[in-house]
Subunit: 246 residues, 3 copies
């Protein structure tokens, strides 16, 4: 266990075995950090929440939280959480295993996130979002929730498994993006996206079936479903299962 001497760790936090904690990091009461995890410098974990009845924050084992990140109380993450720098995660975020949250991403809380989800840098996840397993979201994407801002109405976005949202796109309130679909870069998505299709534009319209896009790597193989050719940072048991699918 390597806890930097300048870190401020509450005596009511639970720090697992072989955990590393960086300089100047603050870990408040009610936080548990799983075994073999690393928390970088300048973080604060367990910021007290006024909007949650839950005062704990659970970080699964073998996680990596990079510097300057802020997590509120009232959330729970499975094993192998991996964040960039300066992420913000508000209360009532419930996530599965192997979530990646890129640098500067801002998770507003009150949301469900599946297993093996990938948020690249600067992703904004509005409250009431529901994100299934193996989803990818790229920089400056916004998942909205208020159909006529400002109001108290919350219609969260749903991203089904294996969906991909390319950079700089906005998903309007209540939209469901179907499994395996691709939202092209810089799109405004105002209605549901049929599974395994590609939409793009402002507003986004159907462009083609995802399976008709070919990899620009010289092989001429289909680019989608992406899990047939892309396996970086997934465990072997997942990628072997993908290859066995027919």
């Amino acid at each position: 266990m390597k806890i930097h001497e300048t870190a401020l760790i509450s005596k009511d936090a639970q720090i697992g075995r072989n955990v590393e904690i960086g300089a100047f990091t603050i870990i408040n009461a009610g936080v548990s950090v799983g075994d073999y995890s690393t928390v970088g410098p300048f973080c604060e974990l367990g910021v007290p929440s006024t909007n949650s009845s839950v005062s704990s924050l659970e970080i699964g084992s073998r996680s990596l939280i990079r510097s300057h990140s802020v997590f509120y109380s009232g959330s729970k993450f499975g094993a192998q959480l991996n964040t960039g720098h300066r992420v913000t995660v508000r209360e009532n975020t419930i996530a599965g295993n192997n979530l990646q949250i890129g640098t500067l991403s801002d998770i507003q809380g009150d949301c469900l996130i599946g297993n093996y989800v990938r948020f690249h840098s600067s992703v904004h996840v509005g409250k009431e979002s529901n994100i299934e397993d193996y989803v990818w979201v790229f920089p400056y994407v916004v998942l909205t929730n208020d159909p006529h801002p400002p109001s108290e109405v919350r219609l969260g976005v749903t991203l089904k498994s294996y969906a991909v949202i390319a950079t700089h796109s906005t998903i309007l309130p209540g939209v469901i993006v179907g499994s395996g679909s691709l939202v092209g870069a810089h799109s405004l998505v105002a209605k549901d996206v049929v599974e395994h299709t590609v939409v793009s534009g402002v507003p986004a319209r159907y462009k083609c079936d995802a399976s008709t896009i070919l990899l620009r790597d010289g092989t001429g193989q289909p680019a989608y479903p992406w899990r047939k050719h892309f396996n970086r940072s997934y465990p072997v048991e997942v990628t072997e299962r993908w290859l066995d699918e027919t």
Copy 2:
């Protein structure tokens, strides 16, 4: 008064009564923090400015500045300033009471901001912006100012009272958005917006009068003017006045 022992407070700063200051926060000379305010950890207030003749920074009473935020000298805020994490506010920002600045927002300075203004996360406010009372601005909105970048010409944006700019929109230099108007998500606004109307698109065009949009809460009431149904985080004297308006 609870000032963390690791905070670095200049002897030439003025700290009001019952102020809390978090761990590792730096407060420089010339800063005044009003009574009953809280400043989170990892902040720096009063960064010396080379572009301002004013060396002071005034934070009104009952304010909350969250962690990792940076404020330059040469700005002034009324009571009840409330910020998210990692906001940046440059010199010559003059703001009224009850301003909210969301996480990661970037206020470039040389701007005027009224009372009860709401910036959500990741709002970019260019120099020479003029923002009236009760305005709302949502994530990844950019208020520009240079009509042919890069140049020394500055044509700031004006947002009139009660205007709402939805997420991911860009307002071009010199544009005036009228009182009570709504700019839809992901729009590029190149010309002035008539008051109480809705515009959207790239470039943005007139869509409808704001009053024709209905709340999606089952009541069938109009969604605009929003102050007739939305009152979260405003003081009672404001919201009672709104309800009394005819």
Copy 3:
């Protein structure tokens, strides 16, 4: 030399003459900071990289790195690097002299950056980007690299000398923006941009030759080439050469 007493400086870092280092900043082994440079508080320089064979980080002389910034090992910067707050620079970023990186910008690494390049706030530079001298990039611009995300294919963006990318634009993988061209705000650029032209829209299309846009400063002079009227923050030897060009 003014190194704050709370800064954590590795004995294997090389700190030049007359360097200032702010409170709570971490400088790791293998970092060299050039003479007369300033590093603000809450930074970490030389974050160990798992993706680079180079364990050093070189910051040229007379540089200014503002607070809360993070630089990985494996990069090299010429003299007079100037950053905003909270920038992130990953490994294998090779940059010339007088680079400006605005607040919250996110440089993903594996990229080449020329001399006198200007990134405003919140610029996202994808891997394999190639940015020539005197380029300007404005807030929330994304330089992408993956033609069918997620994949292992990398087609970086090229921005030729004096090109300007206005705010909130996305440049798709492999696109080349020609010398002296302007991409208008809020555009999606899907194909190469001819030099000295203006493109805009979603998708971006040719609008006019850059030289036909006039300065809105009352002079009626052309706004482009911008180097004929704009010289802020460049050294005199550069701006005199620009004026001598015919």
